[in-house]
Amino acid sequence: MSGLFSDVLRRLRSNRGAMCALFVALGIVALTLAGPWFNPNGSQALDWSHVASQPALQSAHWFGTDRLGRDLFSRTLEGTRVSLAVGLLASAVSLLVGIGYGAVAGYVGGRTDHAMMRIIEILSGLPLIFFVIFLTVVLGRNEYILFLSIGAVGWLTMARIVRGQTLSIRRREFIEAAVASGAGTARIIAKHVIPNVIGPVIVYATLTVPQIIMFESFLSFLGLGIQEPHASLGTLIAEGAGEMEAAPWILLVPGGFLAVLLLSLNILGDGLRDALDSNER
């Protein structure tokens, strides 16, 4: 396992674009965590003497303020933090579901595998955003439900990948040894299959993080995700899009953050994928 990881790391390190993306992404994460210490303005405080003021480095509000006089810098940082948290948590949900489903389908095989993969095929043919809209409307707007419903949608690709990995180790000697020593199917999947496929699968999971962040911002943009007074990047962008003509920075700041974040995560993900299967170039 360590051999695989050091190989991947070595190949990733030689990919200059991916390394830049990694540093940009890490920088954004560090900024969202450390930013509040450098900025005296709270994300909810209303500054009535600076309503919708322009960005300026010498003023108290580096990135300007919104219509209510809230500091855009701290609101954007908070929004980025929320978006990142949703992205990571929902990816974790999809990882868990996908690993379970994919490992069972791949290991049990035969008709079960066929049926389980057919279900995934049908589900991935549907525009899942409609289901998430439905789920959030039906179950009420709640952040935990948001994580769950986005994660529940994101597990499809993950399950496919886990199944593929499982198929590749299914006939290996250590599995045969486990079967010979009388271990049950559930035990083999939990103790022998999953630990051996998890490495590459976690790398693939990083690919789903930007997709989920995009999905969440989309929902928040539509007003179905994170609610006021809290904000994710999507909420802030929706707010900014309405003020575009009079105060473009209300759109540009969160929009720019989301664009840079998604871009760096995507490039990093592409780099990781290339580093993982070196033969696909």
């Binding site: 525009p127 409609f130 439905f134 409307v137 039906v138 899009a241 003509e245």
Partner: protein, 308 residues
């Protein structure tokens, strides 16, 4: 071919039935109702309203009635837009949504395939890197960020195009929304075309074609293009889905009178019939698109046999 086509269409009916049924009961299970307002209505008025729309009947009766009307091509009245039937609302908005959607699709294909082919032919050149960097941007940045940025640039900095609004027959209002909508599928198509073109250009039959002295242009057109487009063909159905979801936000940013807004508004307002109508329209579109993709696939790859 025709028989296959009809059989597939007939096969779509049970799928649609399941989708309608699930949606019907799911939206009914949601708390609240279409007549909830800030002030609660007097119970008598509420009862009148509910009986006028048939909501006082048992749910299975309502379901049966809805299916009966649907089988006769009637989507029912909208609960929120009084005086409008769902059929009227969709008939008004659908042409707009269809226009921007199909324009975006056409743009994505007409630019994506040449860009991908070009990048593959100039593999590892500056042009290739530039095209692929643009494609990463197009995939990474969602249309609801791209469209306001384009609006800021072309509508507010330089007054070339209107930021939002709509006039029947005027293309100027459609340029920015269509561009924003087309960008993600365009990027995916360019990447797919490039990756497959690269692989095919290395294969033996291309080497043979070049070796026998055919000009490169003819090699690409006559030999390489068809197999290189296979993955693009299978991406078409997801592309339609992505354009559909994109149009939900793009229409609202650009102020276009399409049907995109009805999906979210309908669900939030508990406008039961409107939501069902939207779900039916969207699923039908997707099913038809899937069918067209299969036909296209069979044309591109003669090894695929449709008849079973």
């Amino acid at each position: 071919m025709l028989r296959y086509f009809l059989a597939r269409l007939a096969g779509a009916i049970p799928t649609l039935f399941v989708i309608v049924t699930v949606t019907f009961f799911l939206i009914r299970a949601a708390p609240g109702g279409p007549f909830d307002q800030e002030q609660t209505l007097p119970p008598e008025i509420m009862a009148n309203l509910e009986s006028a729309y048939g909501l006082d009947q048992p749910i299975l009766t309502q379901y049966g009635r809805y299916l009966y009307a649907l089988a006769h091509g009637d989507f029912g009245p909208s609960f929120k837009y009084k005086d409008f039937s769902v059929t009227e609302l969709i008939a008004q908005g659908f042409p707009v949504t269809f226009e921007i959607g199909s324009l975006a699709m056409a743009l994505a294909l007409l630019l994506g395939i040449p860009i991908g082919t070009f990048a593959a032919l100039r593999h590892n050149s500056a042009a290739d890197y530039a095209a692929m960097s643009l494609a990463v941007v197009g995939i990474a940045i969602p249309s609801f960020v791209v469209l306001p940025f384009l609006g800021l640039l072309f509508g507010i900095r330089v007054h070339w195009l209107p930021v939002a609004g709509w006039e029947p027959g005027s293309m100027r209002y459609l340029v920015l929304p269509v561009a924003a909508l087309a960008l993600p599928p365009l990027s995916v198509i360019a990447r797919l075309t490039r990756a497959n073109m690269l692989e095919i250009l290395r294969s033996h039959f291309i080497r043979t074609a070049v070796a026998k002295g055919l000009p490169l242009r003819i090699v690409i057109w006559r030999h390489a293009m068809r197999p290189a487009l296979l993955p693009v063909a299978s991406y078409l159905a997801p592309a339609v889905a992505s354009i559909m979801t994109g149009s939900l936000v793009v229409e609202s940013i650009a102020g276009l009178p399409g049907i995109g807004r009805y999906m979210v508004q309908g669900a939030l307002n508990r406008d039961y019939t409107l939501v069902l109508g939207m779900v039916i329209i969207y699923s039908t579109l997707l099913i038809v698109m899937g069918l067209l993709v299969d036909l296209l696939y069979a044309w591109l790859d003669p090894r695929v046999r449709l008849e079973r």
